[in-house]
Every structure is written in structure tokens, then in C-alpha cells.
Symmetry: C2
Subunit: 380 residues, 2 copies
């Protein structure tokens, strides 16, 4: 969808003449009361569910969660996936042309915040004629957007589902983002963000960024279980099987990380990486309330489901509990599930029966609420 | 000290005509029974204690631990600090000349293991006329060397003090090492390890490596306490104080990491970084015993003190407890202290009254043992 009018941004800048890529699943009911907005995290898009008819391996990134008969049931709900501004999967981003200059944005793409994304999403809902969401839902950075919706547009959200998220980043979280950004920015192929004109891509930096990311997505336990100290290929002729090399791949975990880094560097935009990690760093609704999260969340009026995973050390259960506590301080209706899962932060994307059942039950409740209101409306 | 004879290495290669830089503190007693060898970790040297007369800020890296009247009391013990082969602080390393070719070693410097370092240290002790150590001591990678001493030369060690260490690296540990190595190796200034000839230094890679290292040395808690979400310099004119930039320093933690990375890249050798992290990866005494650490440690005959720190997530207390258990399985004399300290892995280098007292008491015990033997020898 094209938007001509300028969107004012938190930084004071604005963006105009932009596109938002979005997909919808299921049908909007006559009351327009069954819409669910899905917000994505770093490496994802509007393609949240289903497959493209003509493309192999084109499952949406939350296809296990969303679809007909799935926890977020598209036979009941009208689900909207939207790609955020600054991303590299369809919506306007750094690789597109700046309308003022006719040049590729590159590093001149405006800095986006979670709040800006939410406002852009709200405009999309306006265009779709949806006044209020049955639910807004997201994991990780997507969960931050869901939480922000409840503060920026409290009257437009009935339920917020915030999975594996946090009310802000810790110093350690910011530190990992910063190392990844430095790897990209100091790659000689970055050219201060204007690498498109030079016909190069800062792949070295992107690879390092992705490798760091992957380490923080997985738990120590799951890494030990999946890779442990296994060698990629033991050599013969000595007692250890080591090839004794500082640069060759020796352990399986190295091979895995290199592969993930290589793959990512083939398709992800370097400026997008900077923008999205910065949006993560900046998100901090308590900031303008002197760090008082309870005061910040007083604006929220919807009902909440929060989910965290025990082995997630990137956004630990303690961070979700901070949100739960702040909402309870405001006497909000909050459900909270702490799932005992081994997979670390990645667990929010994986199949876990307890996790899936929690979300399924919660959306069944939302469906019951909506159906009751429709029935009451018909009777009146 | 110069060593002409080739030292056979675990890889099958060997190194000859090499130097070991070392320092000693205190006096070797007549029985030669009061020697304590200190093994260093990644970014340290033979200069473990004291200051150089003509140099400001030249404190040894373990100066709080070692010296007259300190926990490792140089009025009682003859302390030896030695710089490992492949390092960049005085002993022969990748920046020195290969005796066969007359060219700088660079990437051709042989891969070193913990076992190789221990054997090189043993030769140094031979040259110093020390048959048996009162104690071998080290933290982190230094602790691995101390542990390895008890297996390679069990008869030459009376006590081993293993601080903040582990019996091997986990997949996550290896993963962090690998990302750091990739950052260095893919820096265009690395030139496959032969950057010396090109008159350049792969500083970009070294900076990233050091930044990653620093994150893993600190606990999440201490990072939050020291830096939290503090901005380096809040701007005026908006509600948040953010400057809204993807590349400028915004948070204090970023400023700290960049500073640490810059400083490190000025003095640390890139090939040394690869060599030392690989030695960490390779250390795994249980490997040749089918992963059975108890079987591996059966060779050790000395007494042990192990120390770990609660917030150390790089080498967690659980890893030290594995060693303790394996030693107890072999009915060895083991003392173990788990120190409740907030500083993460770095705690092993910091002043903590309980930690210092544990080490002090342990060395007092060693001193009592030695003194009793000397008295018994004199009486006989």
C-alpha cells in the first residue's frame, strides 16, 4: 500500500511517499472486529503464514502459529502481517529511492523507532477500515511493537500478546547490537552506508553480525546438545582428531555459524540491520516516566497475554515479569505463561506444545468475546 | 631464556630456537620447594606482579594477588611468571622470525595447545633447577594450564590452584571465539596472517574481537549497574535525549566497548589472538578418555583449590564443579570455593575480600606444609 502523506517520526524527521508491504489471511467479519495484527522482529516480514503457490520453502515465518485451525486460527480471525519501514523485504527501506533526491536512501534513511512503526501500522489499519484490533501480537522486537500499540493507541487494541520480549534492552543487549553494528560499519565495503552506488555489499560485517545474533538466540544448553564439542570432520593420525588449525573449521558449531552468516549476508540489507537494532536499543516506554514502568503502562487499557521461555537469556523471563508486574500495578487483566523450553530466545518461533496451547486458549477466549458481542449486537 | 632444542608440539609440529620471557619474585629457598608458577590467560603476560621502576601504570596483571604480604606472599614463595609461546608480550610469537626461513612467522607460527605451553613451562623450570612446584596457579585459560600441569607432570606439582576455569569449552564458548576469529581473519588487512609484510594491522577485526570478549567477561548485572541505559551525552530538544543515529555513540556501554576495542587493537597481535583462542577451544583432557573427566583426572596426584564466581557465565561455577566432582571421584584432596561476586568472569582479577582470603588461607597452608618438611629435613 502506498502512502503519500508524510509520516512524522520520533526523531523529528519524517518520511513520505512510502510503501508498506502487507499480507492478510482469513476474512474480516462484518463488524470488523476480528482483525489480528502480527508484528515482526529483526529478520522477518509481512509473510507470516502460508506458502506461495509457486515457491518451494516459502512458509511464512510464524506458519506453525498462524493458519486455519492453528493457535491463531485464520478461520476465525483476519490476520494482517506487515513489513516495517526500513526493512528489506518489501516495504520502503534504505535500498529504495529518496523522493527528494531520486537517489538511493542508504544511510540517509530516517532512523525508525518502535513507536514510528506502530504509527505506520495504524495508518495501514485506517486504510483497511479497521478501527480496533481484536489483538496485536508479536515476539521479541515484535512484542515491543505489540506493547507499544497498547500505549500509543490504547483504544484501538482489545488484546496484546507479547512473546519473549522486554520493556527495554539491557546494557548487555545493547552491547551485542553495538558489536554487530561496528562489524558492519567498519567493513570497508560499507562506504558509510552508501555501498549500493559502489556495487558492493558489506558481507563481512553482515556475517559477523549474524553469527553474534545466532549465539544470543540459542541457549547454552541447546548449543551443547546440538553441537557440543563435535568436530566437523575428525582427522586420523593423532590422538585427538584435531586438525590443529586456527583458521579452518574444526568444530561443528563453527561450521553452523559460518553457514548462517553466509546465508544471511546474501539477502539482508546492512542499513536495515543498523536501523532495526537501533529501534531495539531505543525502545524504552518507561524512559519518559523517569524509568517507572508502572507509570508508563498506565495508559494501556487492553487485556494482555505475556509469554516467556526459561532458557531465553536474550529476553529472560525476568524481563517479561517486569511488564506483568507493571500491568498488575495498574490492575490490568494479564495472563502470563513462563514456558520451560530448552531453545533459548528462538523458542518463540518453534513448536512447543505448551506454548502453542497457551496461545490457542487465549485466542479461543478472544473469539468467544467477539462472538458474544456480535450475538448481543444482533439481538439488540 | 633462550631454548635452542626443538620442543615437540601436540600437533606433530615443533618449534626451536625460541625465547620465553619470564619474571620471578621473592627468593627460591635452599630446598627449592617454594616455587609457585603463575599461568596467564588471553591478554596477559609474565609480568604478574609489581611495577617497573621507570614506568607509570606498570602494575602486574595479578598485582592485587601476588606480592609481599599478599595472598600469594612473595616473602614466602618464589613466584614465576612466564609468557606463553605465541603470545605478543615477549616470548617468541607470530611477529618474530622463523629460524628456517628468516621470515616473520605470521600465520605459519605453529598451533599451540595448553599442553604445549605446559611442556614449555616445564623446560623453563628445568633450566631454573626446580624439580617440583609448591603450586601452579592460574585463572581462566591460566587455570586450564594449572589443571593440565597436574596431568602432564603430576610428580612436579604439590598444589594446583584453578580459578574461574573449566575442563573444556562449551559450544557457546567456542562460538564466541569463532566469531572473534572470523572478524580478524576476514579483515582485509589480515592478509591471511601475513599482514606484517604489508605494513598494516587488522585493527577492525581486533576491535570486534575485543568487544565480544568484553561482553563475555562481564556479568549482565554488573553491566547494568555500571552502564545501564545511560546515554553518553543526552541531546536537548526532544523528549528522550536520544540523538537518533545508527552509527554515532548513543549509550555509555557503546562508548566503553569502542574504547576497549580501540585500545586493544593498538597493542595485541592478531595471530596471537587466533592462537590463544584456539588453545582454549582445543583444551579437553577428557577427550582421550571418551569424555570421562574422572578417568582423565585420575593421573593427577596433587592437592587442589578450585574457585569460581557465581555470576561468571563464561566459565560458570557448574564447570568448576565438574572438575571438583571428577577429582573427588578419584579421592583427591580438593578445596572448592564458590564466591558470590557480581563481576562475572572478570571477578578473578578483581579484589574481593572473600576470594582473596580463600587464596591467602590456602597458600598459608602450603607454606605450613613446606616449613614442616624443611624442619623435618633439618631434624633428620
Amino acid at each position: 500500500m502506498h502512502f503519500e502523506t508524510a509520516l512524522p517520526l520520533q526523531s523529528g524527521a519524517s518520511i513520505r511517499d512510502y510503501h508498506l508491504a502487507y499480507e492478510t489471511y482469513g476474512h474480516l467479519n462484518a463488524d470488523k472486529s476480528n482483525a489480528v495484527l502480527i508484528c515482526h522482529a529483526l529478520n522477518a516480514s509481512h509473510h507470516v503464514a502460508g506458502v506461495y503457490a509457486d515457491q518451494a520453502k516459502s512458509e511464512g515465518w510464524w506458519n506453525n502459529m498462524i493458519g486455519p485451525g492453528k493457535p491463531v486460527d485464520t478461520d476465525r480471525f483476519f490476520v494482517i502481517g506487515v513489513n516495517n519501514l526500513g526493512s528489506c523485504f518489501g516495504s520502503t527501506g534504505p535500498m529504495h529511492l529518496h523522493p527528494d533526491t531520486g537517489q538511493v536512501y542508504g544511510a540517509d534513511f530516517p532512523v525508525m523507532t518502535v513507536e514510528d512503526w506502530v504509527n505506520a501500522q495504524a495508518r495501514l489499519l485506517d486504510a483497511l477500515g479497521i478501527a480496533q484490533l481484536a489483538a496485536v501480537m508479536g515476539g521479541s522486537l515484535g512484542g515491543m511493537q505489540a506493547l507499544s500499540w497498547t500505549l500509543q493507541h490504547p483504544e484501538r487494541v482489545r488484546h496484546a500478546v507479547v512473546v519473549a520480549s522486554a520493556p527495554n534492552l539491557t546494557a548487555e543487549n545493547i552491547a551485542f547490537n553495538e558489536v554487530a553494528r561496528r562489524a558492519i560499519v567498519t567493513d570497508p565495503d560499507f562506504h558509510e552506508g552508501h555501498f549500493y552506488q559502489h556495487g558492493v555489499i558489506p558481507k563481512r560485517g553482515l556475517r559477523i553480525a549474524r553469527m553474534i545474533g545466532h549465539i544470543t538466540y540459542l541457549s547454552d544448553d541447546v548449543m551443547n546438545e546440538k553441537f557440543g564439542r563435535q568436530l566437523r570432520e575428525a582427522v586420523t593420525g593423532n590422538d585427538t582428531g584435531y586438525r590443529y588449525s586456527t583458521q579452518d573449521v574444526e568444530f561443528q558449531i563453527e561450521s553452523y555459524l559460518r553457514y548462517q552468516g553466509d546465508k544471511f549476508s546474501e539477502y539482508f540489507d546492512a542499513n536495515t540491520y543498523l536501523l532495526i537494532t537501533r529501534a531495539l536499543d531505543y525502545f524504552d516506554p518507561a524512559r519518559q516516566h523517569g524509568g517507572d514502568l508502572s507509570a508508563a503502562l498506565a495508559r494501556a487499557s487492553c487485556k494482555f497475554l505475556l509469554v516467556s521461555f526459561t532458557t531465553d537469556w536474550r529476553f529472560s523471563p525476568a524481563r517479561s515479569r517486569e511488564v506483568v508486574k507493571a500491568l498488575l500495578d495498574n490492575r490490568r487483566d494479564v495472563s502470563y505463561a513462563e514456558i520451560d523450553a530448552p531453545h533459548g530466545h528462538d523458542a518463540f518461533l518453534l513448536d512447543d506444545a505448551r506454548y502453542m496451547n497457551v496461545v490457542r486458549s487465549y485466542f479461543a477466549r478472544i473469539h468467544t468475546e467477539i462472538s458474544a458481542e456480535i450475538a448481543a449486537g444482533a439481538a439488540a
